[in-house]
Symmetry: C2
Subunit: 177 residues, 2 copies
Amino acid sequence: MGYHHGDLRAALIRTSFDVLAEGGLSRFSVAAVARRLGVSSAAPYRHFPDRDHLLSAVSAAAARELREAMLAAVARNPDDGLAAAAGAYVRYVVRTGAGIHVIFAKELYAVPDDERREHTRALMTTMLELTGSDVRLLEATLAIAHGYASLIRQDFFSKDSVDDVADRATAATRALL
Amino acid sequence: MGYHHGDLRAALIRTSFDVLAEGGLSRFSVAAVARRLGVSSAAPYRHFPDRDHLLSAVSAAAARELREAMLAAVARNPDDGLAAAAGAYVRYVVRTGAGIHVIFAKELYAVPDDERREHTRALMTTMLELTGSDVRLLEATLAIAHGYASLIRQDFFSKDSVDDVADRATAATRALL
DNA sequence: AGCGGAAGTGAGAGACCTCTTACATCGACA
DNA sequence: TGTCGATGTAAGAGGTCTCTCACTTCCGCT
């Protein structure tokens, strides 16, 4: 690991998650990500034309991973799929800092990035399947999961473990049905 | 309205709401508020020692107004209080941009501001009364209301009116009971 | 009328950010 | 082995932000 990093592109995406988890979208900066990786602040621009394209790649990765986490949760709880997925959402967002506010961030709408479009579309499709194509149920579930995740990130539950809160999100989702 | 503004302090708070409604916490800046009011960027510092104290005053105002909006909604729907309050939350946040992410923003914890403390405490107390001191129900309701409000602010519901979405938040809250 | 203080202003220091440019390094392949 | 392209760096232009400082304006009070 000398002058050349090896796989800076992937490292930038992973480290972006860390920066997002710590300071949220508002404190995210390309410079902070570079600093944390120990590379110059110009280095990221060899891999992404601008800040929004980096965020777009993060969004794509988050959409893919979130979908995987939800599918895994559903597989573990076959007859409680949607509620389990809501719990998985809470856990994923608390761990990575990247939820729908990142995945569907408004500032990314203008970024041309087919990979992101593909992954966000797949995520939406999967969630729709979980609700039997009930859009209202989908939005209610998302609201609950995102709401709980936001409350955690706001330190609303001072000492409760993430798993406990995720279970409560799961229960609240179940109450919708 | 010449050299002296009249009531710049109050105007700063009101305009801060506008800036928050348009760009969220991440795009909020004292300079932007001053610019929008047509005063110099030093003027706000005659009334607030720093940015966080301005945000704290906004938080206090939001907590007071939100509590009033909730109480009014409850008064209109005596036998559906909590659910009506959730709808009021959604409407208030979409209109003003200041929800719990502003009212309970982490960066304000260190700001000594008794007025804010008082208003946020009153808001919490009122919400607790609405849930019959059921903390779990309170957090679930907040998660739903905040979640729906976030989804709206993210342009998730392209053409649905705010009132329609607020009604769905109300219905989802009712499902908890 | 005149004076003192509250509330403005303009200028700017210092921090940080995005993104560019010219140059350095190094791995891969002819 | 030599060279070329990909990927790094240092430096910096240009922007925005927070907050300070010296100075000005004007309201209220005697």
